[in-house]
Subunit: 345 residues, 4 copies
């Protein structure tokens, strides 16, 4: 690959967009040539929108329109935009020949029939759902190579699928009881638009569960694990933590009788042998949010009660990084044949 | 006084309104007979608006209108409403004969000319500005007795005036340099309406100054101290703390050469002799927000550099209580001849 | 009952001790006549230890010794002390004839054999374990009447047992899978002694699970539910929230096929008919920590997936109040025949 | 310079040490060859001490002793150690010929006579106080070149000196009133050792002033500004914010009558022309902690009341970066002739 790839970010005003821009500023192979908003009608400097970026980049964020985008002729497009917006613009953007990494949920579920219930709209391009590569990078490197449409996984789904997929593949799980995923996320996961639920006073010194039995990441996790999407098989409960960044997931599952903690750890070590962003916690220390906040790591650990085979998996990621922007970059790296962690340390 | 006084709260959906209701529920002499909103168009149970109140009170919050209010025939009205709303409804509510405690700024400044600059509207009732009693309770008991319109002080102003008024009265202040008030408030002070500035992620793990040289509590403090409203005399800078409740003010002032810390402490002790809600910190421990959060106390302390007469005053209140609802109740108590702290412990 | 009961608090320097004192100050029937520390060697005023209490109470906290206690001749003793300390002093304190409410875990488990594993010491008084009343007030009023030794439940255990006991009694639970209790607590639950794990920087902006499969509240919950203490039946995982106060427990359980949400709600309503401190959330709003922080309430709610019988129970308490001091007072009220909520609103 | 410079960090277990290590891992010219603790007696892997560093570096932290240090033969030594420790070891470490950047206060004050009062010990090497370069990098590049002993400035002092030094040099300040520095810091500034004052519950939802009139950064600021160390000239009050990282300083000063905001801004622009880590806020947006947290920037802004010449300066830094580790690296860069910002973006 000669020269840096012309790259744009659409959805540059949100938190994921901002993190993408921070990462792109230091990326050797991608050159940020445009930043767009799916909402605002006027151009604003990125430093006005995100004063954090002052002195790091001197670029305006433009209202998105397809003609401007076409003129810029990007080779790589990141969409950090609402589901409906991505659903709408992806088909025509694909025609430009650019590689698209979509951080929304618009192309994550292969089954179009799930969209009305979980996303509130009819999906008009079931064909693209089949073509899109679900970019949980560590498990999809082959499909990602030269992919044109990459569906970047949900933050909660990432935190749960990373440790569980190798265990499912290894056939370790008993089907006697549901996999129960009790996940807790910081507030950046709820986006930047002010709302009663993200008001400081409503969040601080409090804690709450939400979307019981019906969060949209549930079918995404079921799809990723290859299990039926019902609560006898899989339960996922998100909670809102009074912190800015990070997800910790506590997952309860029953393993087959002979499976030991060492089996789990070695299965993980094999699965993540070439995955420098996954850290397996093998001692008594379990993952905590503070160890991953601000980093691209996914930390995973487990404890097993040998008498019963009951296991508890704990995983931690930064929801804006491994749960969004970093994984998007990993996916773009993989699509263009770069090392998985380029620009992510 | 026979029987409990029929009392209503207008502005029951906000934080100050909620605190007023909590306090009224336990008040021996006031009976909460109505709750109103200046904004919402439909009745909602108070427990739906403020789930904290579930099981404490069974009352609907109604859209405010004057006819309904008249039917209820309240003897005591608390307005925890926007400035413009209070400005508009106070004149006709006064005609009902009820005592009004207005928690907004609409009747705090005696000089009507300040309203356009500091509040953004022309004041149409300068006559009422002269009649309204500024209810910094500990200093206004006499005027409060039988008062009909009470302007409840601003939260920042309360935290600064409480310790300073006795020192000004004692003639302790040198006029060589401005009184500099560096105040820090929790987010409830910014109200409950969602905004970019109160989004959890924008506030948490951060801190900022705002409204430099132009916060509307500046002329209120100047008026309370009886000093000119200019920055060679008085500077007030508010800051936003990543906490829910509480104000800590650090005030810098130069005292006359002979004034000692013991002079200040004894002046305070005299001034607050009959004021059980004011606590004078006389040791090395200075006031902190955690000592007053959730209480009606105002804590005050000071340190003086004897070599120079430079003094630092530290005061702390809960902005929703002594800075709003508790002081409103103190004022209502005083208006009706009840003990100042009834219902406030 | 004539006159107020002479009451002392041992362990007055900690958070639970402080909350007990705040509640006792306003209690009609109990008079706080002594405060003691199990640790400090010198008397200190309560206001120096807890500046929050300045102006509320004027009492010294004394180093505990039995002779001084005997002289005071208390009728009611609250022990907010370490497990080992309670274990040691309860036998002789019982001989004074006073009623003892022990907030530690020293007398909670009926099976003495569990103490070495879960509490790290041999229990020397298995006879007292049989006699002690486990004071989950709403379920133990009869045994509490005239009780002499009351074991105040653990904070986590309270949050989980309150909603679950009525469901177990009703026979609603399937035994196909473990009851999984994923609980999250604020930092006051970890006590006041400074430690690496309670350092602000280690807790703030983070979140972690701890004591997986081995927290001492596990056998307490099993005992309260009347189920075996093994992980095929019951799993309890505590987590540390970056907040001061409050516990939210998310409990996963499988109900028998026919059980509906309405069955659960009406079972709760019956069970808590005369329990004003329990609030059943019957709408879409689930309990959240902010609704109970600073109050004595226990809020409970549930969601059921009718297709599968999988249920999620959410409960919230203030760990220092219903999880400690308020329940201690409820228990003392019950022991002396007073209304359960005296002094708790 | 050929090859990377052999570099060690002493005081690797603390927060500043950890940040230094993170920065060194990515530094092109410095190679971290040793990490030491001034306290712990046994070697521990850095990843055990700081799980954040897992996968980033594979190095043990050794108990410090001079013999081991000599064997390693470092060319660059960072001391992130207590004042007394630095005071003790610097003289002999200097003899090894290495360049020392001392992050403690042991060599910051030129006047040895101040040490007993402000640091609690007699300084035994006044000669080294004269030789040490005070490394406020942007103002000391010339003296830093080839410096052997660099005193890294205090975090508060940095936040205040950065904006003020250019204004003092420009002769803008009136001497009619003291420069009043009201500064607020996150808790990492208090160090990692657990203490009552850093317990989560004591800090969270609270705020307090401390060390009124006697913080040790006061004489450091006076020295940096070249003004007398008395409270008629300079007052500095630190406060503790319930956040992890960041300092915001609000500085009140009176400027000479003719000085305008544009004068201040252009003076800053000139002073920081070649200082990419200083960002001058020239619009209505003032610096906030969130804009600098996690970065090496120092943000500065000001507002002036033209009628009176009263000015408010607001500055923000990350106390662990520009206030400690990043500035240490800037200083090391300057000592070895590297670009000021190498390794700091």
């Amino acid at each position: 690959m000669s020269g840096r790839l012309r790259t744009i970010v659409v959805g540059a005003t949100g938190y994921s967009g901002r993190e993408l821009i921070r990462l792109l500023v230091n990326h050797k192979n991608f050159e940020l040539v445009g930043a767009f908003s799916s909402r605002s009608a006027e151009p604003l400097s990125l430093a006005e929108i995100h004063p954090q970026l002052t002195g790091l980049i001197d670029l305006d964020c433009q209202p998105f329109d397809e003609a401007t985008t076409a003129r810029i002729n990007p080779q790589l497009i990141f969409l950090a935009t609402p589901n409906e917006f991505s659903h709408e613009v992806v088909p025509s953007l694909l025609e430009t020949g650019a590689t698209i990494v979509d951080l929304s949920g618009a192309f994550r579920l292969r089954d179009a029939a799930l969209y009305p219930e979980y996303y509130g709209f009819e999906h008009t391009r079931p064909d693209l759902l089949q073509k899109a590569v679900y970019g949980l990078t560590e498990f999809s490197r082959k499909e990602l190579s030269n992919a044109k449409l990459i569906a970047n996984p949900g933050c909660y789904a990432t935190s749960i699928l990373m440790p569980l997929i190798p265990l499912v593949k290894a056939g370790f799980l008993s089907d006697l009881q549901p996999i129960i995923c009790d996940a807790k996320s910081g507030v950046t996961g709820a986006g930047k638009t002010p709302a009663a639920t993200t008001h400081f006073v409503e969040v601080s010194e409090s804690f709450r569960a939400y979307n019981l039995f019906k969060h949209r990441h549930t079918p995404e996790i079921a799809q990723g694990l290859g299990v039926p999407n019902n609560s006898n098989t899989l339960i996922f409960t998100p909670h809102l933590l009074p912190i800015n960044r990070g997800i910790l997931s506590t997952v309860y599952l029953k393993l087959d009788d002979q499976v030991t903690r060492e089996n789990v750890l070695s299965t993980w070590r094999n699965a993540f042998n070439n995955a420098p962003l996954v850290r397996v916690f093998a001692g008594t220390q379990m993952p905590e949010i503070k160890f991953v906040a601000g980093s691209s790591f996914c930390d995973i650990g487990c404890t097993i009660d040998r008498k019963t085979g009951q296991a508890i998996i704990v995983s931690a990621i930064d929801n804006l990084l491994k749960g969004a922007a970093s994984q998007a970059l990993q996916n773009a790296n993989a699509a263009f044949g770069l090392a998985g962690e380029e620009g992510l340390r």
